[in-house]
């Protein structure tokens, strides 16, 4: 039993590598922040494209649906490897884009962010869509009857209501996104899992990895409780048949 304990919970190893792992974990949080912000915007754009009215815009809707289906089906790891293993060699793309070093971050950082945004854009688009479709049809009719065009109705009537319905499922997506930042370790970006693996191979001890897991739990557990609370609040709202205003 003590052998098990020493393998996974060697506080000596944890202490020695604590700051190194924490610093690497902060990189996960930075990737998350950048990817989440972009994915939330990209997903909304996709969801709105998917809701375009009329026959003429059918091709746009079709392409959007195909994108969403495709990138929800392909494992993120494959996307990361396809981008990092391919984009740098596409000589028709300017070098500053195919090997980006923006804001002092190395190219694997940006390949990872790109992969996460591409995939999580598809997932968040589905969450937005669920919210948009949950707004009663009479709302769009009322807005259009008052002379608003489709975009005005979306912007001022439909989307603000949709956003009040989706915080809980959206937060779930964000939790997944945060965890998936660890996949960028496979392209040699120094985030928490990569650093923990280095410790593992150097000391043949898993305690640094446990420390990394612990950091994720610390951040995510409270978020899970927030999700619970949001769901409870939403059920209250539905029971009262009303919505809460969004700023």
């Amino acid at each position: 039993m003590s052998e098990f304990f020493n393998q996974y919970f060697d506080f000596h190893v944890m202490g020695e590598h604590f700051w190194e792992v924490l610093e690497a974990f902060l990189q996960n949080l930075v990737i998350f922040a950048v990817a989440a912000a972009l994915a939330l915007i990209w997903g909304l754009a996709l969801a709105l494209l998917r809701q375009l009215p009329g026959k003429k815009l059918l091709p746009i809707r079709f392409i959007t649906v195909a994108y969403i289906d495709l990138f929800r089906a392909i494992p993120i790891l494959i996307i990361i490897l396809l981008i990092s293993g391919g984009v740098p060699f596409l000589s028709f793309i300017p070098q500053s884009i195919r090997i980006p070093h923006w804001f002092g971050k190395p190219d694997p950082f940006w390949y990872g962010v790109a992969a996460l945004v591409i995939v999580y854009g598809a997932f968040t688009a589905e969450v937005y869509r669920a919210g948009i479709e949950a707004v009663p049809g009479g709302q769009m009719e009322a807005a259009r009857s008052l002379g608003m065009n489709h975009w005005q109705a979306m912007r001022h009537v439909i989307v603000p209501q949709a956003l009040t319905l989706i915080p809980a499922p959206m937060l779930n997506e964000m939790i997944s996104l945060l965890k998936d930042t660890t996949l960028i370790s496979v392209i040699a970006f120094s985030e928490a899992v990569l650093v923990s693996r280095e410790v593992l191979s150097e000391r043949l001890n898993s305690s640094a990895m446990i420390l990394t897991a612990f950091f994720f739990v610390i951040i995510i557990l409270p978020l899970a409780r927030v999700v619970d609370r949001l769901i409870a609040r939403n059920q209250g709202k539905i029971a009262r048949g009303s919505h809460i205003e969004v700023a």
């Binding site: 003429k56 009719e141 008052l146 608003m148 001022h156 209501q161 009303s242 919505h243």
Partner: protein
């Protein structure tokens, strides 16, 4: 009859294999109040929604103030055709389920489209909204959200919201059907005042009393056609058609 405001000819509409409207004609003059009665499924609501192209008809012609909105330039009933804007700037509609914007206050419900569609300034829109909400008796509810208002109050906000766009014609789609009985009167009173002020109104309703008192003309629809029409005294008191007699018998004998 006064100058024609709305003229519909041979309106046909089907949902899949179901033929809801089988060539309906109607002409409504300026300032006229027309009540459309009929059993559920008679097509009266669909007909009303055809007038402002919420349900574009498959066949037939619609003239609003003399302009053909179905066959003009850029014709068709698609989203891009110019008729949509033309119609919706002239025709207001009030729905059975109110459809107020729940994330906006009563005042904001009435100002939103004024600002975004008509381009009125915030102050202008606010002044107009305040005036209209006071007129429908809700001057003290400007900053309330719909969930805090009764059904009758919500429906009056919806009427004010439609009036804020300065419509030439108002459509009412069973606006009292979702209301508790004691709230029906306040909404009907508001509509009555509107009629007295000379608004052109097309009203789909089950309120026979309202039709008798306020309507200039009553139209009875069944199975996608107009069965009978005329002044309320004639259609309601002395119906000629068997179907009308049957319907009114059932409604009035309750």
């Amino acid at each position: 009859m006064a100058e024609t405001m709305v003229k519909l000819q041979g309106i046909c509409k089907r949902f899949g294999s179901l033929e809801v409207l089988k060539g309906v004609d109607l002409e409504v003059g300026r300032g006229e109040v027309v009540c459309i009665l009929g059993p559920s499924g008679s097509g009266k609501s669909t007909f009303l929604r055809c007038i402002n192209l919420l349900e574009p008809p498959e066949d037939g012609e619609i003239f609003i103030e003399g302009n053909d909105i179905c066959k003009g330039p850029g014709s068709g009933t698609g989203e891009q055709s110019w008729e949509l804007n033309y119609v919706r700037q002239r025709v207001g509609i009030v729905f059975q389920q109110f459809n107020l914007f729940p994330h906006k206050t009563a005042l904001e419900n009435v100002t939103l489209a004024q600002e975004r569609v008509l381009g009125r300034s915030k102050q202008e829109a606010r002044a107009k909204a305040t005036e209209l909400l006071e007129r429908v008796g809700l001057g003290d509810k400007l900053d309330q959200y719909p969930e805090r208002l009764s059904g009758g109050q919500q429906q009056r906000v919806a009427i004010a919201r439609a009036l804020a766009m300065d419509p030439h014609v108002m459509l009412f789609d069973e606006v009292t059907s979702a209301l508790d009985p004691e709230l029906v009167k306040e909404v009907l009173d508001t509509m009555r005042e509107l009629a007295e002020e000379g608004m052109t109104m097309i009203v789909v309703t089950h309120e026979i009393g309202f039709a008798r008192e306020v309507a200039d003309r009553v139209v009875f629809m069944d199975a996608g056609v107009i069965v009978e029409e005329g002044p309320p005294s004639q259609v309601l008191e002395n119906p000629q058609q068997e179907r009308t007699k049957q319907f009114l018998g059932l409604v009035l004998d309750r």
